[in-house]
């Protein structure tokens, strides 16, 4: 617990630093950041007649936690797919750490330090949870065919990797499942594994696609602490999420997408009151969770509507 408390104080520093960076920044879509790790220009992806992604310019600040939000079907996942080489964009360029990344195959993207998770989880079913985790580690000596034949060459590294994996599993409350096949995990557990596995890569930029959908809120809360720790270690986090509490809690900056384009950017506190964002995304559910009274009001609305309907039907 000790480490965590010191981490917590450090987290506050970092957060403060991040806030300082973002403090005076403009709120326009595509606003330049002082130290961008990822710069995206004019990325377009069409499916038939549908333009799923059409992002003019976006930058992600190094060492920050950036949230990407937007209504369902806004193109967030598709956008991730383009950036990480899982789909080919119709046009556009983007750089990671200053290096152009167009046409770089998915595995190379990951090797360069940009790792993503999948919204619809991809558990490696007939591998154990621990093996899933170990797979994430990079630069494994034993992944070379010839060295694999000499156990001595990779044993030591494997032990280190295992240790790291065990730590993460404990964090993600999956340690009890370590020996089970990943295919037997529950929906939420898969999400957890997906994220934990991505962290095994130790990337510079981790891109999480709805990491907490379906994860128990108590656990979510403890994991957010972990994500903040990651920021302390200098990792950049870009995540998609529909849970506004979470967005508000950990993100330094929020990018809002709708219908493929970035419609707004800003710090979480202000972005949620942005008219466009409320319109496109938040709806009545803005800023704070529903209070009791609001809930009542909604219920009454609903009841009224229902009664009207019933009346209609009886009138027929």
């Amino acid at each position: 617990m000790h480490a965590e408390t010191t981490g917590a104080t450090a987290a506050i520093d970092r957060r403060a630093a991040a806030e300082a960076v973002f403090k005076d920044m403009a709120r326009d879509p595509g606003v330049p950041k002082p130290d961008p790790i990822l710069v995206v220009d004019d990325v377009v992806r069409r499916f038939g007649g549908l333009t799923a992604v059409d992002v003019k310019h976006v930058e992600v600040q190094r060492g920050s936690i950036t949230a990407l939000i937007g209504p369902n079907g806004a193109g967030k996942t598709t956008f991730f797919n383009q950036l990480t080489g899982f789909d080919t964009a119709d046009s556009g360029t983007w750089t990671f750490n200053g290096k152009p990344m167009n046409g770089v195959p998915a595995h190379k993207v990951a090797r360069r330090g940009m790792v993503r998770t999948f919204q619809l989880t991809k558990a490696l079913s007939r591998l154990t949870v621990l093996e899933n985790m170990r797979l994430g580690a990079q630069h494994q000596k034993g992944e070379n065919f010839w060295r694999a034949l000499i156990p001595g060459a990779w044993r030591r590294q494997e032990a280190e990797i295992t240790e790291r994996a065990e730590e993460l599993l404990a964090r993600f409350k999956l340690d009890a499942k370590r020996g089970d096949f990943a295919g037997s995990l529950s929906g939420g557990q898969r999400k957890l594994l997906e994220m934990a596995r991505a962290l095994m890569v130790q990337p510079e930029l981790v891109m999480l696609d709805e990491p907490m959908a379906g994860v128990n809120p108590a656990l979510t809360q403890s994991l957010l602490g972990h994500v903040k720790d990651l920021r302390e270690q200098g990792m950049t986090v870009l995540f998609v999420e529909h849970d506004m509490d979470m967005v508000r809690d950990i993100s330094d900056w929020v990018i809002v997408m709708a219908q493929g384009t970035v419609i707004a950017e800003g710090p979480p506190s202000t972005i949620m009151s942005d008219e466009r964002v409320i319109d496109a995304y938040l709806g009545a559910h803005h800023d704070a969770p529903l209070s009791e009274s609001e809930l009542e009001a909604q219920l009454q609305d609903a009841e009224a509507a229902l009664e009207a309907e019933i009346e209609e039907e009886t009138q027929k």
Binding site: A106, H107, R111, V115, F118, L135, P151, S184
Partner: protein
């Protein structure tokens, strides 16, 4: 009924050259399919290029035996590359049909009249195993022992093939064991489950699939050599799709993704086949079974082999060594 013969042939078949050569090829399939999830239905082609590589080198080009082995190995590796470069991007079931197609094309070319001068047409090539037998350390004669009343003897030349074959099997199993326990093997197994996930973790999926294809192909090609050396000849139709089907059967019977699965599977398969064969033909000859005649006994054997396969897999769908839990996840 001649039970002694039935048992002696059955026991011999458990370790005989057929078991050896099928086990080797099945170990290759196990790497492809069991560990990597590549539905390679063209394993027979690897055996074929090896067998023919050896045969053509020795008989047509007149080069020594070991050159033939080298050429066979190289041919198998090249085939893996040629087959892999365009096809490894395909989804598993599409890969299956493409590999069948490649294997059939190779077989048809080997058996065609157009290339008869090189490959010998439908009768294939023979007369290339002298170099191998010249190395035989066993003096001429029969070797073996009597298991009670049951004689188990092999002639020296067959024994030589078997000894080399079993050593190869042991070596391959050991390699597979080492590899599949290693992180390299872990990547293969992960690819079997979900390529995209593996890609997202920074592994070059294509390269690993290729390595798997080459490794399995080269091990499979050892089976081709053993065939050629044990029979002293190669024929194109041996390397048809049927052979590959049987290889799959063996892998599944023994248990996919298990080191010894293919070996046990091959033994089981041949024991089943030979036991049924012996029993049925003796039963027909002895008049125990009367509803069929001699020429139908062979067919009846396959009927029972089919039945045996069905029953084995119905009652043990994971195979002999397989893990029930894996099957539970696999089921729809």
């Amino acid at each position: 009924m001649d039970w002694i013969t039935i048992f002696s042939t059955t026991i011999k078949s458990a370790v005989g050259v057929e078991t050896v050569l099928y086990a080797l090829a099945a170990i290759g399939i196990n790497i492809h399919f069991g560990y990597t999830g590549l539905l390679n239905f063209g394993q027979a082609a690897f055996m074929a290029v090896a067998g023919y590589g050896l045969a053509v080198t020795v008989t047509v080009m007149g080069l020594p035996f070991w050159v033939g082995i080298v050429i066979g190995l190289v041919a198998a590796a090249i085939l893996a590359l040629l087959m892999g470069i365009p096809t490894l991007h395909l989804r598993a079931d599409y890969l299956a049909i493409v590999t069948i197609a490649v294997a059939e094309i190779i077989r048809l070319v080997f058996r065609s009249v157009a290339f008869k001068d090189i490959f010998g047409g439908s009768d294939g090539q023979r007369g290339f195993s002298g170099g191998f037998q010249a190395l035989n350390p066993f003096p001429e004669g029969d070797y073996g022992f009597n298991l009670g009343p049951i004689p188990i003897f092999f002639p020296h030349w067959q024994l030589w093939v078997m000894v080399v074959g079993w050593l190869l099997i042991a070596l391959c199993c050991f390699i597979v064991f080492l590899l599949m326990k290693s992180p390299w093997g872990r990547v293969l197994k992960a690819i079997r489950e979900d390529e995209d996930a593996v890609r997202s973790l920074g592994k070059n999926v294509f390269s690993y699939k290729m390595q798997s294809l080459v490794l399995g192909g080269v091990i499979g090609c050892l089976g081709g050599f053993v065939y050629g050396l044990a029979y002293g000849s190669v024929q194109p139709d041996v390397f048809g799709t049927e052979t590959t089907f049987f290889l799959y059967t063996m892998v599944i019977l023994g248990g996919a993704a298990r080191v010894f699965g293919p070996v046990i599977g091959a033994m089981l398969f041949w024991v089943l086949l030979v036991l049924l064969n012996g029993t049925l033909s003796e039963a027909v000859a002895a008049g125990v079974i009367t509803f069929i005649d001699t020429s139908q006994a062979g067919a009846l054997r396959y009927v029972f082999v089919g039945l045996g396969l069905i029953l084995l897999l119905v009652f043990r769908p994971q195979g002999i060594f397989g893990d029930k839990r894996e099957i539970a996840i696999d089921a729809r």
